[in-house]
Subunit: 104 residues, 2 copies
DNA sequence: ACAATATGCAGGCTTTTACCTGCATGTCAA
DNA sequence: TTGACATGCAGGTAAAAGCCTGCATATTGT
């Protein structure tokens, strides 16, 4: 998993919206997704390409259509590597911060 | 919490490294952090400014020094809103994907 | 076959990002 | 008080990001 690609992919609101849309209904085509994001189709293609390159989305060609599916694995990896780490130390970190803000 | 600022802040490897450094030793000064990131001090300042603007880092002035502390709250918010959502559906999503890749 | 549909590809434009250098300001300690 | 140290601030540049238009290709249904 390329953490940098995943984080960069998540950094754009349009791409997060695309993930949300796929979470509501998995397997949508490019055209379907385009109806929800108010943007030229070609721009959506770019965004989906970035999501796919980060392995956050996998696609399947069916005739002239392209179906898009969420791949939850890299998000889980990010969670394990980044979020959980800070979650574990969360109370300690909050304590540090509070103490310092109080003027120690 | 501004989710967009948080995601954009996390999108840069240098900034993620800064968070890691602070996780190892909370409350470091700008100069201390600079020793670890091979970059002009002014660039580090910019990165830290972005982290601070996203509320991922809080700072305290002590004399001529500026101490940097991790604020774990926005990361927790991101976790609740984004990661957990996909975690809950993780097995379903994996199932969708597998079935489609098998040619249905 | 052919018109409509779904997507791919190339190039251009504008804004943002991530660096940098140079100089200014504030603080400490001898 | 003055030299060394820590940080702030103001540009400037090159690369990347995000959007677009225009045209090409592939598939479907009548």
């Amino acid at each position: 998993m390329d953490a940098d690609k995943v984080f960069k992919a998540l950094a754009d609101p349009t791409r997060r919206k695309l993930l949300d849309l796929l979470c509501e209904q998995n397997g949508q085509t490019l055209s379907q997704l385009c109806e929800s994001i108010d943007m030229a189709r070609q721009s959506a293609t770019q965004h989906l390409g970035i999501l796919e390159d980060a392995s956050l989305v996998s696609t399947v060609r069916r005739g002239r259509e392209k179906l898009h599916f969420i791949n939850p694995v890299p998000l889980h990896e990010v969670y394990k590597r980044w979020v959980r780490k800070f979650e574990h130390q969360r109370l300690n970190l909050l304590h540090d911060l509070k103490k310092e803000l109080e003027g120690k």
